[in-house]
């Protein structure tokens, strides 16, 4: 990525018939549909390879989170709760499907 380039990820929950969808919008406006995972940013290749190997549609929230954080960290470092900004989109979160995972809850989920 170059300076002032922007990438955006829009995630949408499914509605019963339609599975959840990820829309990866690149800096020039092209939209890529993803139905498993999406990685944004400059150096994504290693992360994509790792997630391709690990991704499972039966992941629970803690499993998905640990895999994603492991892939993001890479082999040489570990990321703690304080290093991360994490949110989950799910039905049953109340008024909003979007929910930030912070503090003790995040520490517990990371295990």
């Amino acid at each position: 990525m170059k300076p002032l380039e922007v990438e955006i990820l829009v995630a949408e929950l499914g509605n019963g018939q339609r599975p959840p969808q990820l829309y990866h919008i690149a800096y020039e406006g092209t939209i890529t549909d993803e139905d498993r995972f999406a990685v944004l940013g400059g150096e994504t290749e290693a992360i994509v390879v790792k997630l391709q190997a690990e991704w499972s549609d039966s992941w629970t929230l803690p499993e998905a989170l640990r895999s994603a954080v492991g892939a993001l960290a890479g082999p040489d470092r570990t990321l703690e709760a304080a290093d991360l900004e994490v949110a989950a989109l799910a039905e049953g979160n109340g008024r909003r499907a979007f929910r930030r995972l912070v503090d003790e809850e995040l520490v517990t989920l990371l295990g």
């Binding site: 900004e85 979160n93 109340g94 008024r95 930030r100 003790e104």
Partner: protein, 268 residues
């Protein structure tokens, strides 16, 4: 569609009501420049109570709305989730109170969207205080709204309760409190049964008892309506978030409370 852009001096920041004003979204203040609000013709919500227990807080409210001396509604809801980790209950003029709750819910979400972080529980209590203060002109005209705010403080790992007055002043309660016309009776009942570190069952039971006693003494507070099957709303907030106590459990607790009183030979 384009994003609203503001100069630095005009930017409302994370203030939702401020954003609406800056964008000139028409609002319809209930307050009139002259004269007092009518003494009747609007609905009043009554008794709500909150108490701390080992895992967080319990909040409960009766279901009656009154209009003057008449019962205006039998199934009004006065206890709402404010966000995942807090709840707000209202007493006072029903119309503006419910509107205040909706705006408060929106404000908390708006703050998080703009700032990218969640307000602390103290910060949320402050925001509600500001909304109550902005409502003061209406309160002076007789349309007072007095909320009760409680939540689970993730940083301190404990339940906390805040009470308000019409000026927007907010005060932290260390144990319990109640507001509304039956608040005094509810508070006394909780006082007699309260101790530190109550279990969830004990706290829910105490909240139910307090509303039962308040309904027994105060005409504007509704008790359990066994014929229509309408029961006070009870909710808990813990580190797992807001959870409504199932209506079946509330009904069951009232039934056993009444049965217990009967067998003990006490007046209701």
């Amino acid at each position: 569609m384009s994003l609203p852009l503001f100069s630095t001096t005009e930017d409302p920041g994370p203030d939702f009501a401020g954003l609406m004003r800056r964008l000139r979204v028409p609002t319809h203040p209930l307050v009139s420049s002259t004269g007092a609000a009518p003494a009747e013709g609007f609905r009043h919500g009554t008794t709500v109570v909150a108490l701390r227990y080992a895992d967080g807080v319990v909040m409960a409210g009766d279901r009656r709305a009154t209009e003057g001396h008449a019962i205006a509604h039998r199934a009004m809801e006065k206890v709402f989730p404010a966000d995942r980790y807090s709840a707000v209950a209202i007493a006072g003029a029903a119309g503006p109170a419910v509107e205040m709750v909706r705006l408060f819910q929106t404000q908390l979400e708006h703050y998080e969207k703009v700032e990218g972080v969640v307000l602390s529980l103290e910060g949320k209590a402050n925001q509600l205080g500001q909304m109550v203060r902005e409502h003061l002109p209406m309160a002076m005209q007789g349309l007072a709204v007095v909320p009760l705010y409680a939540g689970y403080d993730l940083a301190r790992q404990t339940g906390r309760i805040f009470t308000y007055d019409v000026t927007g002043g907010h005060y932290e309660e260390t144990e319990y409190n109640a507001t509304g016309s039956g608040g005094r009776d509810a508070r006394t009942t909780v006082k007699l049964g309260f101790r530190d570190g109550l279990s969830r069952d004990e706290a829910v039971e105490l909240a139910i008892q307090s509303l039962y006693e308040a309904a027994d003494e105060d005409s504007a507070t509704g008790g359990p309506d066994l014929i229509r099957g309408i029961y006070p709303l009870v909710a808990t907030v813990t580190d797992e978030g807001f959870a409504a106590v199932p209506e079946a459990e509330v009904a069951e607790r009232f039934a056993s409370l009444i049965e217990r009183r009967r067998t003990e030979g006490r007046q209701p």
